[in-house]
Symmetry: C2
Subunit: 405 residues, 2 copies
């Protein structure tokens, strides 16, 4: 991972996390990731240090652009003790991509950029470039260095190609550690969990257990995925009945979508303080249109009245942030849009707008269905984004509970 | 940065990026970040390696929980050659926090957890804990190690406390490198930019220039922020007139919000393929209610007809993904919700749903105002999330162009 932009935190290092997750899901143990600045010396030092750790694979992303500042190929070549060669197939591919894009750049600039980006360490395999920067698979003795472009989309597309090369595929198949059991748990807080897990029996049987707290849920990872691992899962079902809502790593929105599809039901949303976050999250998944119809972002009270039919007296008497308004929002969305279920959310995300009676973090969620409407009051802590994220997750959990009975 | 969950990519390392961004904005040069697994040996090795690099400050996050697996304090103490002491103020604070939360855990478990989490390297400053895990500021000779809890909200809240300690504040004030000029640019692609910047004059004058491509925009960082730096900005204004839309680091949604507030205008949205992402993004900022009223997520065509009044014949004759539908969505949202402006978006985010005539990545955006409606056709590439993100950004740019004339 390289790049001054990443280091300074203006770009998040998505690539490292995504590749580590992919390798882990194939049973490869990832021993570390690092972000370094984009000077050749820093990249060489990081790649050398990684190879010295006796790992089978080092993945380096970023620094493959056309400018003199893009030094990753040169750094990897130096570490491997190989010269840089112009790769004819890579050059042809880059010229082809460049010719399909209208650039204001001169022909000379363009050709210089293409030649720079076609350089690979001698003997390396050049990967098909999703943009104009081809990655490469470089053998360094028994070890392998995979070099990928930095922009996340190009990086992940190149990674798919890299994984299909004989060298990387053999390495991943050879790892064979198997994916862990991933359980997602709602309604239980971390200290309770720790107590339930703090039984020497599980350690004695060689289980590796990790607990990770996420906004509104816990993620538990159990290795290996065998009879002993599954017996811990059964133990947790006894101690926390109904708390495990996902046993195969599926996300909350996937669990919910599957339940709605199975029952032939549909959902609409009415969001105030979350401004559309629930809709955005539900539609991240392809195929959401089978059960999610859409909804209303009723940020302003006028929208609550006009599009959701929330009565003016409810807003006047109870306020926009109240169980009564949450209820009216959900019922209005359900009636007007003709869905099986409607989920509503209204609250004070802060930092301003709180009062002693209705502090920042007070959120009401509502679920309207054929048999009536359920509301829940939440009192959340943290900054604006944390309150909004937790509110979304907890609203979706309330919906999941109601939908799955 | 520690934690097996982070390494495996199930949790993104937000903390490292956020702290690096904060330090950079104060002119501190961040030389590297690393993610390691949560064994004591790995944490000790990473902290030792960082201190060996002759840095003034090392920030370690995560691994402060109550279990025997949480080894960060022990690792930092070992590196510093200090014993671990129970910190009486920390212990009192943790007991206080625990007593305010209903836990299923027994008193003994709770007290053991509190005592474990109150341990700090001898002489270290314990930071007020936002949760139950206090961070610490540890002096190691002239160098400083700051230890922070892992959950992002707790981490950032603790970081605010750490920055206020004499030791860390002096260090940051002493750096004094000054923040860079950050320019955001729309409508120009990276190779054009590289050509404009590829003038030896800027290098000769000692400017450090970084270009970072983001979905739909470029971010340019120029160091130092002085007369020479600002002369490069003026040069870019000549070469790419109107392309720089932010000169102080403000994000697109902040620029847009400021323009609307200045003109006393309001905005509503009508989103199809983005499912609420634009509303969610606009409401990330406190105070958005001054100019953003809300909108409709018209994922299903029935919602386009019923809540936005898109005529059935427009949907039949032109399809849901068409300039005509985008136009009708924007006009319907503006009329029904009474805003100055309405922004609409409809498209095919994929991976399914594309045809030869209307491929995945085809998106129409519309802006309706008092003087009429403008639409724009986008043809985007990449996976579903990339298409949705770029569509949001480009829709907001179209709106910005129209709103600012």
């Amino acid at each position: 991972m390289t790049g001054t932009e990443v280091l300074e935190g203006r770009v998040r290092d998505e690539n490292g996390a995504a590749i580590a997750a992919d390798l882990t899901s194939h049973g490869v143990r990832v021993v570390g990731t690092a972000v370094v600045d984009d000077t050749q010396a820093s990249i060489e030092a990081a790649v050398s240090a990684a190879l010295a750790g006796d790992v089978a694979l080092v993945v380096v992303t970023g620094g493959l652009g056309p400018t003199h500042d893009d030094r990753t190929m040169a750094a990897v070549a130096a570490v491997a003790g190989l010269p840089l060669d112009e790769h004819p197939v890579a050059l042809a591919r880059i010229r082809d991509t460049m010719s399909s894009v209208r650039l204001r750049a001169s022909d000379a600039t363009r050709e210089a950029a293409a030649r720079k980006q076609a350089l690979v360490p001698r003997g390396a395999l050049s990967l098909p470039p999703p943009g104009t920067a081809p990655g490469a698979v470089v053998a360094v003795g028994d070890q392998t260095v995979v070099v990928l472009p930095g922009p996340p989309w190009e990086c992940m597309a190149s990674w798919v190609h890299a994984v299909q090369t004989d060298r990387v595929r053999a390495l991943i198949e050879g790892a064979g550690g198997g994916a862990p059991i991933v359980l997602r748990i709602a309604g239980v807080i971390e200290p309770e969990f720790i107590e339930a897990l703090d039984d020497p029996m599980w350690h004695a049987q060689g289980l590796e257990v990790g607990v990770c707290a996420k906004p509104g849920e816990l993620e538990l990872t159990i290795r290996p995925d065998d009879a002993v691992g599954r017996s811990l899962e059964a133990h947790l079902d006894l101690v926390f009945p109904g708390a495990i809502f996902s046993r195969d790593g599926a996300l909350l929105e996937q669990v919910l979508g599957a339940a709605l599809v199975a029952q032939g039901q549909t959902l609409v949303t009415a969001e105030s303080c979350t401004g559309g976050m629930i809709g955005a999250r539900l539609t991240t998944m392809p195929g959401a249109s089978a059960w999610y119809l859409g909804g209303v972002v009723s940020y302003d009270d006028a929208v609550k009245r006009e599009l959701l039919g929330v009565p003016g007296h409810v807003l006047r008497d109870h306020g926009a942030v109240s169980a009564e308004t949450a209820s009216a929002m959900a019922e209005g969305a359900r009636d007007r849009l003709g869905a099986t279920w409607a989920l509503s959310i209204t609250g004070i995300a802060g930092p301003g707008g709180g009062t002693p009676q209705k502090p920042v973090g007070l959120v009401y969620v509502g679920v309207a269905g054929a048999l009536g409407t359920t509301t829940r009051e939440l009192r959340l802590h943290g900054d604006r984004e944390r309150i909004r994220l937790r509110a979304c997750t907890m609203a979706l959990h309330l919906l999941r509970e109601v939908v799955t009975g």
